[in-house]
């Protein structure tokens, strides 16, 4: 039942209650009360219009009740509770995502967003799909690509458990290349996204095509040697 005077009264009461998420239940509880009172008055033989007014008068001062209700519905505790719930849900989702990606590596390709090099064409690529968990961070090396302009590129992703309390180290990688004689010092560049889940690309310039090995450094102790002579997919053959 909607009575304009009642609606106005309820609005006035609720205007004092700062925690908006409880407005609905307060509204209905008070309105139901007035309805019950109204019907009771009718049963006692009161005129409808008078009963509507009387039911309203019985409720008492809207401002006083609104202020008391506001104290009972502490916005602070309300928000703390809501925030905790939201954060919890987000953390659960964050923890499920990498789990999926580790089970089905196809997950990564769904969000594939590596930048493709346009100024030079591909010579060969190596699909690695290498995964290693280093403490609380999982490093996934997707692919190694080698271009005609002697650029070597590594595509990778990392996942860090948000529940871990470790210091979040820089989760980008570092690469060194080697040939028969030893280490080749070359300049390079790269980018890395995300702090919990992120992907990145790293490249080295002026790498000779006969380079046999690279070592990917990750975190404090991660040292992953990768043989460049195995698993090559030549671009001009495919």
């Amino acid at each position: 039942m909607r009575v304009p005077d009642w609606e106005e009264y309820l609005k006035q009461v609720l205007s004092h209650v700062k925690f908006k998420y409880d407005h609905n239940s307060i509204y209905f509880e008070l309105r139901d009360h007035m309805e019950d009172r109204y019907e009771n008055f009718l049963k006692e033989g009161m005129e409808a219009e008078q009963a509507k007014k009387a039911a309203l008068t019985c409720m008492g001062d809207a401002d006083a009740i609104g202020e008391e209700l506001n104290k009972a519905h502490s916005p602070f505790l309300g928000w703390v509770w809501r925030s905790i719930r939201t954060v919890f849900i987000i953390l659960v989702i964050l923890n499920i995502l990498p789990f999926l990606s580790l089970i089905t590596s196809g997950f990564i390709s769904i969000f594939e967003s590596y930048e493709n090099k346009t100024d030079s064409s591909l010579v060969y690529s190596i699909d690695l799909d290498y995964k290693e968990k280093i403490y609380d961070t999982t490093l996934i090396i997707d692919k190694i690509l080698y271009y005609e302009d002697n650029t070597l590129e590594v595509r990778y992703a990392t996942w860090t458990n948000p529940f871990s309390n470790s210091i979040k180290w820089n989760s980008s990688i570092w690469i060194e290349a080697y040939d028969e004689q030893g280490e080749i010092h070359r300049g390079g560049g790269g980018w890395k996204s995300g702090s919990y889940y992120g992907r990145g690309q790293r490249s080295l310039r002026d790498i000779p095509s006969d380079t046999t090995k690279i070592v990917v450094y990750f975190g404090q102790n991660g040292e992953i040697p990768i043989d460049l002579t195995e698993g090559r997919v030549m671009a001009n053959e495919s």
Binding site: V13, S25, I26, F28, E29, L30, D32, H33, D36, R37, N40, C58, M59, G60, D61, A62, A64, I65, E68, L69, K71, A72, H73, S74, L77
Partner: protein, 112 residues
Amino acid sequence: MDKGLIGGSTVLMLLSLLQEKDYYGYEIIKEIEQRSNRIFQFKEGTVYPVLHRMESQGLVKSYKDKAETGKERKYYKITTKGKTQLAKEQKQWNEFTVSVAKVLGGVGYACP
């Protein structure tokens, strides 16, 4: 007695009623009116802030159910914590009323 429900004995009255059975707000008002022969006539809306605060303190729990009229109403149920609180307040109340009675009744009453 218009101040009624904001006063100190309100929680005691509400807990005491809710110990008998679950009530919704309007029923509580009717029940108090009847039992007190309309001596306690307070503004009806004031019962809700008290009930809501009792709920946030964990003394009562609310749930939705169909009333005898067939309409859905918000019922209040006393919790274990509420029952403990009731016992405590009842004891205080008894001590208070006995003391008042003793004062009013004079020396002879106070020293049986």
